[in-house]
Assembly symmetry: C2
């Protein structure tokens, strides 16, 4: 514990987002019960919560109180969960297991999973737009930012690029482009939404002293997020090669079995580790001028490449 | 033409929304091309545009200029198109034809259609949140209203109720409940978003004289919308019984073939016509205190039950 003084704070973020998600999801015993149950199944009880934790950590770095980032954190995780539910459907990856549990369409059925994924996306925007802890000016910017990150120019676009690449020989640039969209966009949005909260409160004179987020700080945080987003993906690829199926919660070696281009397959395992480490170094350098408030962001950068699931 | 002086205005709405949608959809020649092409295919070139036209008509009734309702109109149609793309997938209705054309997954593939439906939903919220013709306070209310109408408490909830009712003997109340969610929620949102635009500009003193939308007017418009939403669905059911496949663009008689409960199957054709007419009468009565600005809304009420497709 003494070597990881931030661990408890991170665990607190995680507990907080579980409670926020539980409260925002529709109750399982209200009609339509099966849809609500599928939505709750897809979101609650598991998941690393990387995007919400990142949003809370970025809020800490910018002096934004956590209650102003609850809605953004929840919306990020709802979008992420929605994409996993749809990804796992027979129309896309046709996966039976996710985080060691039956995927949503296996636990329910394809039709319910399709609707649940849609409804999780809708709920994300509702939660964000209706959040009274932020002024409307912050909320509209967050909705637009999240929608861009999730949509055709972001995550969903990355999934489409991934589809188009099937059976193709990918080079490293093409692989980076897929990941920048598929996972990177939402990770950058997590940090960007905290910056928006800071910027919009800085426009209210009373808060100006506390939350003087400058454009340079926002740009530095975005560089940090772009780096750890890519590092996160490289680590995912490495876990697929080196990880233990029981620990990572999905079948290890699946990428190689599907002849998927990955960082280790293109660079080799050693060089992939080095690339991830280099990205983390660059991410940390971007935070150089931030004070101790950015320690949670620094902690996450380390976690990203040292995690085993 | 002399018997339908509003026809040209309605045609103008339709042309306007086509142009707005075309401009907001991502270009077909930008990456990822196939995703963009599928999104454009699902939205452009056909469709009755009932929800956008209703939003423009409601704007006319409340004195809101059309440019303030463009984003809402587009967002409504994007959500509607998204739901049709997903509805037609094998996981749900598994339909090959929509508006006389191959459905999106038939023209492209299941994976692309799934992602395109998701991306259309995302785009709806992005367009609405980023719309600079409305103050942020109006935009956040519109995003929240649209998300509620589209989500588990609205349209998607209605689809889930519909799924749950398969193979069940439905009574009229259960059927109404499905339609109130499945089609009614988005139609009410179309009118509500114009009311929000009027209310939020009324809070700015300069516009107060022009746009004095009262809570009673908003409630009257909502009653109008609830009535015509249900009438619209009854007419859909009637067209399935009485319509011409070539005109309605989908196979007529499909409901009976699938043993689906409908208004004509529960009430008989004559009584279903009478119920639709009664709803239109009630919708028109709700507009009693509105001036000539509400004539487009009155025109739509008539169109709903006299259309042949």
């Amino acid at each position: 514990m003494s070597k990881d003084p931030l661990g408890p704070l991170m665990a607190q973020c995680r507990e907080r987002i579980e409670a926020v998600l539980d409260a925002r999801l529709p109750p399982a015993d209200a009609s339509p019960e099966r849809l609500h149950a599928a939505m709750r199944y897809a979101v609650l009880g598991s998941g690393k919560r990387v995007r919400p934790i990142l949003a809370y950590a970025a809020a800490q770095a910018t002096g934004v109180p956590w209650e102003r980032i609850d809605a953004a954190a929840a919306a990020l995780e709802l979008i992420h969960a929605s994409s996993l539910v749809h990804d796992d459907l027979p129309a896309l990856d046709d996966d039976d297991l996710r985080r060691g549990q039956p995927t949503c369409h296996k636990a329910f059925d394809d039709a319910t999973a399709l609707l649940a994924g849609d409804a999780l996306q809708t709920l994300a925007f509702e939660v964000l737009a209706a959040d009274e802890h932020n002024p409307p000016a912050a909320r509209v910017r967050m909705v637009a930012r999240l929608a861009q990150a999730a949509g055709a120019a972001g995550m969903l676009g990355g999934q489409a690029l991934d589809l188009a690449s099937e059976g193709q020989q990918l080079d490293l640039d093409a692989l980076k482009d897929i990941h920048r969209h598929k996972t990177g966009a939402l990770i950058r949005a997590a940090v960007a939404m905290a910056a928006i909260a800071a910027e919009e409160s800085a426009q209210q004179p009373a808060d100006a002293a506390d939350n003087a987020q400058t454009p340079a700080q926002t740009a530095a945080m975005d560089h940090y997020a772009a780096c750890i987003g890519l590092a996160f993906q490289i680590q995912d690829d490495l876990l697929d090669v080196e990880g233990d199926t029981a620990v990572i919660g999905k079948t290890s070696g699946a990428d190689a079995a599907h002849h998927k281009a990955t960082y280790p397959s293109l660079l080799g395992v050693e060089a992939a580790h080095a690339a991830a480490a280099e990205l983390v170094t660059s991410a940390l350098a971007a935070l150089h001028d931030f004070g101790a408030g950015a320690d949670p962001l620094r902690w996450i950068a380390g976690y990203i490449i040292h995690r085993d699931r």
